[in-house]
Symmetry: C2
Amino acid sequence: MAQSPAVQTPFDIALSDRAKAGLPSAVRKIFRASQRSGIISFANGAPFLGALPFGRLAEDARRAIADQGSVALQYGSSAGIPQLRRHVVDIMALEGITAHPDQVIVTAGSQQALNMAAHATINPGDVVFAEGPSYAGGMAVFTSHEAEIVHVPSDSEGLIPAELERLIAETRAAGRTPKVLYTIPNFQNPGGVNLSSQRRLEVGHICRNNGMLLFEDNPYGLLGFDGQIMPALQPDFPDITFYFGSFSKMFAPGLRLGWVMAPASIHEHLINIAETAALNPAVFNQLLMSAYLDDPAWKETLDVYRGIYKAKFQALVETLETVMPAGTSWNKPTGGFYLWVKVPDGIDTEELVYEAIERGIVYVPGTAFYTNGTGRSELRLSFCLPSIDEIRKGAAILGELFTEALASSK
Amino acid sequence: MAQSPAVQTPFDIALSDRAKAGLPSAVRKIFRASQRSGIISFANGAPFLGALPFGRLAEDARRAIADQGSVALQYGSSAGIPQLRRHVVDIMALEGITAHPDQVIVTAGSQQALNMAAHATINPGDVVFAEGPSYAGGMAVFTSHEAEIVHVPSDSEGLIPAELERLIAETRAAGRTPKVLYTIPNFQNPGGVNLSSQRRLEVGHICRNNGMLLFEDNPYGLLGFDGQIMPALQPDFPDITFYFGSFSKMFAPGLRLGWVMAPASIHEHLINIAETAALNPAVFNQLLMSAYLDDPAWKETLDVYRGIYKAKFQALVETLETVMPAGTSWNKPTGGFYLWVKVPDGIDTEELVYEAIERGIVYVPGTAFYTNGTGRSELRLSFCLPSIDEIRKGAAILGELFTEALASSK
């Protein structure tokens, strides 16, 4: 082998039909920029970790290996370890979900769970309905399974049921299959809104009546600024709901742990898909997550975080009120990580993001949250990661940038 | 919401065309049985972990969180952290691969890397060629992307190039697309054979001449009993090779870390697929893996493991020689985890595995390693995990079972 020189024949590798989808490259560029040191990032949906009990977590990690290394570092069940699945059941109970640990599948992050669920259910050409705007990474999962995304217009109470019905009818009339409603009902990414109680019921019935699945993605449900928790859709629609949960926002993303609870008829298929795609989630990480949840103090830590995020949100809004050009508006989220901002005509958020990066800040242009090209007059500001000082400073830079852009557009 | 009773309408959820594939349920049943306590498992490809330096690893884990918790527990790069990618480059250099860390994509286990590569390249109906027999989990990945598996007959030097050429021609004649050769060139799973140097070149040229990709899956390459390392195929065929590496066998599976190096033209697509499917591999786990590899002592530990596996292999073969019915044969692997056993007519390994489980042992019937239904006269014995005592005891039970079965078949 070694004596044979490397042959560099030009070779045009044919990608699969699915491979061309995924996150738009502009979005990926922006997220990469947001990892530059020194930049104030309003782009990342990354939680602030500084209030975690690192000392205790470090000791838990040490113990997991020292005391049970042969378990922690070995293969494990594709559905996850029982003790973590029991904790998941307790967490879901806070939102009114009654479940048994055997219904839970732990995954390496809820992104992986979404990908598995899409693999299980989406055929090329199927239509997935999603809030407009919606989570870029979720939509990328569906398009990478060759689904078409149709956005459902939303207002301050979340997606509009009548619009969903209309769009389903249009989809059928066009000979397409309405397959899934993908919704983030709580502190939605990026819109920051909650789906109202009344609409939860309406929307679920519309899905069921149309033979559609309901993908309920709920990474932010426990992060209401004042501790309010909205009841999940799953209990009313267990036969059609895939419920996705995540430890990434309420705890930390670095262990890569999330979960999915699927309709009973799909459960075994989904485990098989999980096993085929990734064998099993890391046992070590699951032991660590379980140890953290074994101590009820995690709820107090969560309370601390609610206060931190509320203060950051308030600092952002206070600053925006003084620095943004007239005609700028934003929603009033009561929890979560995101502020959704609409800017006056003359400001193109997609075009300006590169200048923003030059000036030391980064946000995500609205276009990242639609698959239909709209969103140039919108942007998402994440207030979770930067400090309050950075938020004030960064918002001032943003206000200056937009004010200048608006002036020069006239 | 809470006042509305759960409605349990029967609802027939349509699975995607892909969802029905994956690991055969018989195989999954067997692996689940192998996790029962008290059973002697020849089924698992799980490494023996008892020789790992748990004390040091525990301290590394503690430090990763105590010293840099805000990094360890945060999101990270979809391609993996730079320091681990540098270690991967050094490891691949042992097999003659020249690479830059920017060419490496770290994944949550090489199973995930295989799944991503399949997503990137396989269209429904494409043909993937694999050794006969081959790794059940690898084949499940391809069938879950709607590929058809065609087995290439193998002998003691690995897959037979002339047979590969013949099968490619047949595939083309049938109007199908020959897309990928999936090979485990070193200490093959389950056959235990090495692809000879001469055949590596022949096989690579056949792939390239036919516009096919070469998936080189190499989890066992560093586990030669006497430390011998075979050169990789990748250096001669960088334009068509996806090289898959794993820390699961040479270290431990519990961190879920592996990697892939793809042809340059595919690299960015593959990162996008990784990001869409799972965001990023766990930073904490990568820091821990890097810390382990920072100390050159990992190579001495690997040497210890080579000796352990060689001794287990020898104990297995010595026992089989005395207990198996005449007409039983097996290969002579020089490394890896597996012995591939052929039994005389009259013994059905698939039928007998359930009786084996009753008697306290479990193996994998040959049928798991073929997609064409053959393999009932073959079985895989993994000698990696059980102790030498368990190996002797378990092999004796197996010999008794097969001897009885053969006698009653006459």
